[in-house]
């Protein structure tokens, strides 16, 4: 047993002193609860950072040819460095300061007023700074996801400029609309309450759709699809995928913004979704090629993690198995059939996995969301209202569709405009020589491996 905490130790406990005792205890309880939730949020923040680096960097880095491994990993790493600064300086304010229904205000520029006190608009049990850093990690990984679409052929300078602008033009508004106070799609009072527990629309639909636009705008890699462009190290991708899986617990369960039962539910759903999607993808391969592959297994797991992201805190475990399975099959079909048919070069399948998985997940969330899991809709008397179609609230599918539609439109328009802008200024694409030589040498003056 532990000694009574010093902060309480002094106080005696006469039967008459309870009023002040109660007040002191309330404060102490609040502190204890805060420490518990804050621990969970800090751990979750660390896990989400780990998703980008080394997670995503390895997942993508292993999929490219050897000569581009560092250049590809750098695209994720650059986000860890640069978005961190832009988020602290301005984006957090634009996304989460109270503003209009589309974008936040400027009160939190340079993290002004973001300190040790909770921001009760978002979470009442831990410091606003914790919420800020947690959200920062989401802002870092989202543009990093896009890079899979233009792998092996974009200038580093152009990539940096594009992603930074993208994060202001597409990410910040979308985050505000869905999660920000007064946001158009906010489930707490928004015009179209869109269920997005951890970023199905905000993170995956936006990055996935923007990825497709990038792939189409930049065109194919030289030699695609005739030249063999197999992953130079499925082993690296495997490590990355596993770290993504582990980190995703922080991404989804952390989004409960507390470490109570809801965090557990999100954690469980996340894991089940990943597992059944991995099975789905491997089964599809087994049927089509006769052999399930390691690359297929990890790709499926990531597809499932993407699809379960908006649903994690709203659905039953068995629903997660269904969502995962569907995501595994759908993303496989997109990547291995549709993409090849149309012939565009979404090099690392950022659209095929995140765009498709995210959209599917957002819709299925509207279908499977259950008030038994998370009764977010209440009537005036505070009685629980049905949440998803499975509860009888079919209208939610409409809200979900609105959220998806807005994410798609914003991504297409924003991405196209920015690509054009960057293209005419610094130029998007590597010269044929640089592309042939590889990004590592041409863009960074180094090589990934020196076996000599």
């Amino acid at each position: 047993m532990l000694a009574v905490m010093p902060m309480l130790a002094h106080a005696q406990a006469p039967a008459t002193a309870s009023a002040t005792d109660i007040a002191a205890l309330r404060q102490a309880v609040a502190d204890a609860k805060s420490s518990a939730d804050n621990t969970w949020m800090l751990v979750s923040s660390a896990l989400v950072l780990m998703m980008t680096g080394p997670g995503l960097a390895l997942f993508y880095g292993g999929l490219v040819r050897r000569k581009n491994v560092l250049g590809t990993m750098m695209q994720s790493f650059a986000m860890m460095a640069i978005i961190t600064v832009t988020w602290a300086v301005a984006s957090y304010s634009l996304a989460f300061d109270a503003g209009n229904s589309f974008i936040g205000g400027l009160h939190h520029l340079f993290l002004r007023g973001v300190g040790a006190e909770p921001d009760v608009a978002y979470a009442s049990t831990f410091p606003a700074q914790t919420y800020m850093i947690y959200q920062m990690m989401f802002a870092i990984i989202t543009p990093a996801l896009i890079t899979g679409a233009f792998a092996e052929r974009m200038k580093f300078s152009a990539m940096v400029l594009f992603t930074v602008l993208w994060s202001f033009v597409v990410y910040d508004p979308m985050a505000h609309m869905v999660w920000g106070q007064g946001g158009l799609l906010n489930i707490a009072g928004g015009r179209f309450p869109c269920l997005d527990f951890a970023g199905g629309t905000v993170v995956h639909v936006t990055s996935g759709v923007s990825a497709l636009v990038c792939a189409l705008y930049l065109g194919k890699r030289v030699g695609y699809p005739t030249v063999k462009m197999a992953p130079h190290s499925v082993v690296l991708s495997f490590i990355g995928a596993c770290l993504l899986w582990v980190g995703w617990f922080g991404f989804n369960a952390g989004s409960a913004l507390s470490s109570g039962p809801l965090a557990t539910a999100a954690f469980v759903n996340t894991h089940l979704g990943a597992a059944s999607a991995a099975i789905g993808w491997m089964l599809a391969e087994k049927v089509r090629n006769g052999k399930p592959s390691a690359l297929g297994g990890i790709s499926g797991a990531v597809a499932g993690l993407v699809a379960i992201t908006p649903a994690a805190g709203f659905v039953q475990p068995m629903s997660s198995l269904a969502i995962g399975l569907l995501a595994g099959l759908a993303c496989y079909a997109m990547v291995a059939v549709v993409k090849l048919r149309f012939g565009y070069d979404d090099s690392l399948d950022a659209f095929g996995v995140h765009g498709v998985g995210g959209t599917l997940g957002a819709l299925l969330t509207g279908l499977f969301a259950a008030k038994a899991v998370n009764p977010i809709f209440k009537d005036a008397q505070g009685n629980n209202l049905p949440v998803g179609a499975i509860d009888g609230h079919w209208g939610q599918l409409l809200n979900q569709s609105v959220g998806i539609a807005i994410a798609i439109v914003l991504s297409v328009v924003g991405t196209l405009a920015l690509l054009k802008l960057v293209d005419v200024t610094v130029g998007l694409r590597l010269s044929a020589e640089d592309e042939a030589e590889g990004m590592d040498v041409s863009q960074h003056g180094e090589e990934g491996y020196d076996w000599a």
């Binding site: 699809p225 197999a230 090629n289 690359l295 496989y332 090849l340």
Partner: protein, 112 residues
């Protein structure tokens, strides 16, 4: 002096090496190679994209020996490298005009 170049299955390397030493051929140089020939390759799938791999891993031995040892070396290699399956590989023989041992500048057959 003649140079014997043998392309063999990687799995046979140790056996061939021992057979050569057995046959009195101490010196040899090994290179990793990939080969194409009658032996058919295999198919790989990466996210639905199919690649046929028809360059298969092989090992190449290069041995320079005195003329009188050539036949013996060839036999040593051929018998131990043979599995009887397509892909066992080839042996090529050509002339070498001069050999130098770097360490002490010895020349000719004594350099081997």
């Amino acid at each position: 002096m003649q140079k014997i170049e043998a392309i063999i299955q990687p799995s046979r390397l140790d056996a061939v090496k021992d057979a050569l030493i057995e046959a009195g051929v101490e010196g040899m140089t090994i290179l990793e190679a990939r080969g194409h020939g009658r032996q058919k390759g295999h198919t790989e799938f990466y996210r639905g994209r199919e690649y046929t791999v028809d360059l298969l891993p092989k090992v190449k031995l290069e041995i320079v020996v005195r003329d009188e040892v050539v036949e013996k070396a060839i036999q040593a290699i051929a018998t131990t490298a043979r599995t009887g399956h397509i892909g066992d590989g080839k042996i090529f023989v050509s002339r070498i005009d001069e050999a130098i041992r770097i360490r002490n500048d010895e020349r000719g057959e004594t350099a081997l």
